[in-house]
Amino acid sequence: MTNAINTNYQSFKFNQRIRRIIKFGIILGLITFGYWTIIFLDIPIKRMLDMFGPLATMLAERVFPPDLEYASSWKVFISVIETVEMSILGAFYGTLITIPLAWCAAWNITPSREILYPLSRSIIVLCRSLPTLMLGLLLVSLFVFGPFAGILALAIGTIGFAGKLMAEQCEAIDMGPVDAISATGASPLKIFIYAVLPQVKSEWTGIIIYNWDARLRGSTILGFVGAGGIGLHLRHQISILEYHATLGIICIIVILVLFSETLSHFCRKWAR
């Protein structure tokens, strides 16, 4: 009897020791991996630790204060307006494409589970995984320099971002009204309009407003690859090493994004 307890206890002790050794091994492996990645990435740790002094002096002498005269000039104001317009248009046209896609990509209400569902899902996944700035550069080389490529890039970004969220909202609806309306022999489009849309309307409004906010963030930087908006001035000022004007533009971008964030917050509260 005591022997059995002893062996039980011993095996427990043994297991615990093995578990501890495995844990130790994992931690050791992670630390080794981290050290190896620092060597692989060729990161100069010393330069990083010495960075703060030069960074502070550089910021104080060459970047600060922002050139507000340049930032409030007419040229920059026009490009700010262009940025906002680009974000609104990209979000609007993107949403127009997204609504049917989200309808097809929701498993419970999709019109055809064999063809349209996988197709729209893969379109949404593809659009989600393309970074907006890369897409902007591709579209600028494909079409023309200017806001048109930026609007297209933002619309594709909208499909990826809003499509997934909207489809998830569709999958969470109450199926009772859908069954009731389909029992009358209504077509899939009518089911969508009369049973699905009223249930997801307020959530979709919130998603659309949030998506516009996210697109505005993207559109401030799209000009960097020549796709319209304020990013073009940013790139120009950086390439001629005018850091005061650059900081002025960065200030404008931050103010713009803060403004849009507050606006979208209140709009979402109002829409709910």
């Binding site: 692989f40 100069p44 248009l89 963030r217 650059t246 971008i253």
Partner: protein, 271 residues
Amino acid sequence: MIQKMAGHINNPLRKRNVIIPRYIAYGIILVIILGMSAHLIVFGTDWKRMSSINEVFETLFSFFPNLKFIPEIAGPLFETTLMAFWGTLLAVILSIPISYLAATTTTPSMLITFPLGRAFIVLSRSTHEIIFALIFVVALGLGPLPGILALACRSVGFMSKTTAEAIEACNQGAIEAIKSTGARKLVQFFFAVVPQVFPIFLGNAIFQFDINIRRAAILGMVGAGGIGLHFSEQMKAYNYDNAGACVFAVVILVILGEVISNRIRTKLIAG
């Protein structure tokens, strides 16, 4: 027929004083959007420089990924993933004190430290990662290090915000229990708040890693290391098939990261 008409009359949303202002509002929105489209797409874009539709399709097909180029960019792809990893790790470490300051229930003083923490969050969330990368590239030179720091600065805002919200929403009973033993404020934080917040925190960190892969992919375009550098080089050299290969590789990497992070997060939530 009569019933249909009656339905229309009885519906309060179909009354004239409701429906006319609504259509006017829709009309105004439509006019604004059409005006913007006219401003930007019709007049703002230089259509004379745009090539014919055949040439556009020719360029589109020249983007078809050159799969032979993918072994050459395997190193940069790995570098991008590592940049995302280190950026997320730094952001996770930095977000602990900032979320401590920015949560209303734990912050030491509502007048000084709370606005400070919120200001960090707002500044980090509202600045694009490219802008951070530009600042760090100017300060530190080229390479993955400025990219890592830019990613850390960019993602610390989201991490701190979600963690602060989790801290505010956590069960106050545990805090009171620890407080009643006479523990200090920091001890209360570590033994009452941290165990409650930790699963949410870990889930957000994995989510942030997934997003950071996407962000790291473009940082190279301003010289901060990773796949973006090769992409913009190939674009500048008009090697469209190689650039297409870069985009293809990024898409595969991002989808892979998303699938893996979703798996881990559902496992974490399930227990």
